[in-house]
Amino acid sequence: MKTLYDKLWEEHHVTRLDSGESLLYIDRHYLHEVTSPQAFEGLTKKNLKPWRLDANIATPDHNVPTTRGSDFRSEQIEDEISKIQVVELDKNCNKFGIKQFDIQSTNQGIVHVIGPELGYTLPGMTIVCGDSHTSTHGALGCLAMGIGTSEVEHVLATQCLKVSKLKNMNVRFEGEVGEHVSSKDIVLYLIRQIGTAGGTGYAIEFSGSYISSISVEGRMTICNMAIEAGAKVGLIAPDEKTIDYVKSNSFLDKDIFNKAEEYWKTLKSDDDAKFDKEIIIDVSKIKPQVTWGTSPEMVMNYDEPIPTVFDTNDDNKKNVELARDYMGIENESKLSDLTFDKVFIGSCTNSRIEDLRQAAEIVKGKTVASNISEAIVVPGSGLVKEQAENEGLDKIFTDAGFVWRDPGCSMCLGMNPDQLKPYERCASTSNRNFEGRQGYLGRTHLMSPIMAAYTAINGTVGDPS
């Protein structure tokens, strides 16, 4: 009768408050430099300490420069204000005794990349972070969600989150995908179908034969973008692949691991579980997806005509007009008519080793097109970087004319030096194409690592095969 979300909810339910809300116990809390300073300040003002220190793991990612090399210290960040924020995280972690993978650590990286790979994200956990892409961790069978800064303070102080239960949605992806179609295309396609508010108020469980067939990394890409479909929570029941993944990254003793494994195997929705909404998607017909506008739902097959106000219904005309205008789409009728200036392969959506392998496959032996002024690859973490270098992927990229960077959020958002200049058009593997997201007046087209790599080589989007 119960869904996986229901089970995780009950497992962590501490008490119901007079208000009707519930207190959920939080197993893991990730912190980064942007949404935590005001929370630590609040804690200090109230004269409180973190409830349970070992629940917290911190790392700086949003502000860090990606051309820093080794031995770089927080104090060396050039942008004064970015520096203050990163230094503040150092100070707060020292002051409160929170474990941090700081800017010098080889384990530093985007918080949603390092959590799972360092073994801190485990199936069945409740996980929060002051970051909406915390949904990523749901790929391992966790109840994971993004929270605001007031809630960061609340979790630090009480180890609980005060929440109301979400509704349940099941999205079943069935079938086999075509060549050069990845989990990024699948999740973009879903957003196209249900819209960016389609999942609002729901926890979405992703299931079906397609989900079983892909790696844990591919699943993370899908759960990562659940928030772009409006859902705070995206989750996938753990299976053998999940357990193998967790095992390979685990720091737990064997006995404890085995005990945990027994429990993890029970984590799935019952066969007769009741979902408030169910969607079935046949993935076999899905082509590579590319966004054309300023919302992730403005997405289409790479070879479809770009929507115009004439073929849009009245409700949407205004949105289409504004988006076309911002994106500098005038007479071009197809995405492949647009010339790109930059390529960004990275972000918590697509900066894991599998993503880099897929991109490298396309790039191998080729050269970046002359209209591309900069193509950068930013591994999601120090470990991903090391692994990629061991496999020689960095060489493939740099030989082709890409720049190989140090881990961080980089060009996913305009907080660090990696930014678009006004009107530059970027092929990006990140998750948001909002106005100005990658830099003031920058134009973002979201796509998979395969398509971004192809765009770097070809200068425009097209058929990667």
Binding site: V14, T15, S19, G20, E21, L23, Y25, D27, R28, V34, T35, Q38, E41, W51, R52, D54, I81, S82, I84, Q85, E88, L122, G124, G130, S132, G146, I147, G148, T149, S150, E151, E153, H154, A157, T158, Q159, C160, K162, S164, T196, A197, T200, I227, G230, K232, L252, I256, Y263, S295, N316, K318, N319, G414, M415, P422, R432, F434, E435, G436, Y440
Partner: protein, 213 residues
Amino acid sequence: MKSNSEGLIIDGIAAFIDRDNIDTDQIIPTEYLKSIKKFGFEDYLFDGWRYKDDGKLGITKEERDIDESFILNKKPFNESKILLARDNFGCGSSREHAVWALRDFGIKAVIASSFGDIFYNNSFKNGVLPIKLAKSEIEFLFNQTQKKVLELTINLQNKVISYGDKNIPFHVEKHLIDRIIYGLDDVDITLQEKDKIFDFEKIRIQERPWIFK
């Protein structure tokens, strides 16, 4: 917001932005998230639309190239306490800075047909009331903005928006609106349940020891 014997009232001019999916990157761009403070974001609200140039944290409104055509730069909307928008307002990032920017500008209520979940939650913690109305009611209000300056009175206790002699009721959960009316602090409320949390944790350490490594 003024308090009277009838309860809490938000009244004033409503500014309007006729768009769906106004995301938190539009409400406040990433540059300003570098602040480590919780206040002082008023000049950066809708930065990309309010100014014709690219801003930096610390640069004031006076030093910027203001886009006079943007509604919040026009009188009398520069003093609006209420903001009207379309669907999915506040989608995107979890940044509470978006709510802080609205609050610091003086916005006490946002009216839209739906909101991003995290934004919705963040609002109540900072004294900003998000009000969900049916699309037809939103349409009605937008139509009125074409005729004259929209002045609304929002009664928090009765949960009604009044416009002239028209009353539009809205729904919001009691525990959420109470947070605005009484300025409740969640940490204080939760810590009253301290013992229950401790007990829960003790059992959890026994049953799921791997969480505590």
